[in-house]
Symmetry: C2
Subunit: 142 residues, 2 copies
């Protein structure tokens, strides 16, 4: 008997608000069962949520994420649908690969910026530590 999750559990584990989960449900990205009125999330729901959040972090819109999730579900589709799905996937893929380049470039540049700052900080660092009997002694803060 597979585990289930309350909305609170999921929000705490994933770091989102309940509003967010309901919003994803409104958008058709999640569809938890109901016990009475309350939502009860399955492991599958949880897995989908993780995909959603990752998709969000890499900049997909909820609509795009929805498409992708649908594609994974669409096991019952004809050749036309399938190759349309493939096209969508490939689109996302190339977009992501471009983004990967952007990220790497940004990372490189930020690193340059950081070492530049470090150098300027090093310059401006006035009295060097004094060595006394083998110990490094910082000058007293005035």
């Amino acid at each position: 008997m597979s585990r289930t999750f309350s909305i609170r559990q999921l929000t705490k584990e994933m770091g989102v608000t309940s509003r967010t989960l309901r919003h994803y449900e409104d958008e058709g990205l999640l569809s938890p069962e109901r016990r009475g009125q309350a939502r009860i999330y399955s492991q599958r729901d949880r897995a989908r949520l993780m995909l959603i959040l990752r998709g969000r972090r890499v900049g997909f819109t909820l609509a795009e994420i929805g498409e992708i999730l649908d594609l994974y579900d669409a096991d019952e589709s004809g050749v036309a649908q399938l190759s349309h799905s493939k096209k969508k996937f490939v689109e996302r893929l190339t977009a992501l690969e471009r983004q990967r380049v952007d990220i790497d470039e940004s990372i490189a540049e930020l690193k340059l910026g950081i070492t530049a700052i470090e150098n300027r900080l090093a310059e401006e660092t006035p009295p060097p530590p004094v060595r006394v009997a083998g110990y490094s002694v910082m000058p007293a803060g005035e």
Copy 2:
């Protein structure tokens, strides 16, 4: 005498609208010169714009991009400002590195999805082409 650019040139080259450029100006990310009323962009403006667009592609908000641009400009700052800047840079850096992981995972998963689709397409491909006198002949669509 360094080159300059009209707003149209820049929009065409960068694939953005003039509205977008003006918006970036409103937000303090760009500040082109004026010849009379018209904006005239320098190479520096162009370079900044490229940074802005890349920042946008990797998911930074305009405010964050503004901070970063400011940091690059801030050559006239004390130690306090500098180490604050460094902190900001490092924050962005770790965020980007996390995002890089997300991207790689997403790419891997999309690739899986694609090959899965390809397999299903391969299965469903029914009558193989018939060879007639050296020509490949597809079966007639009913």
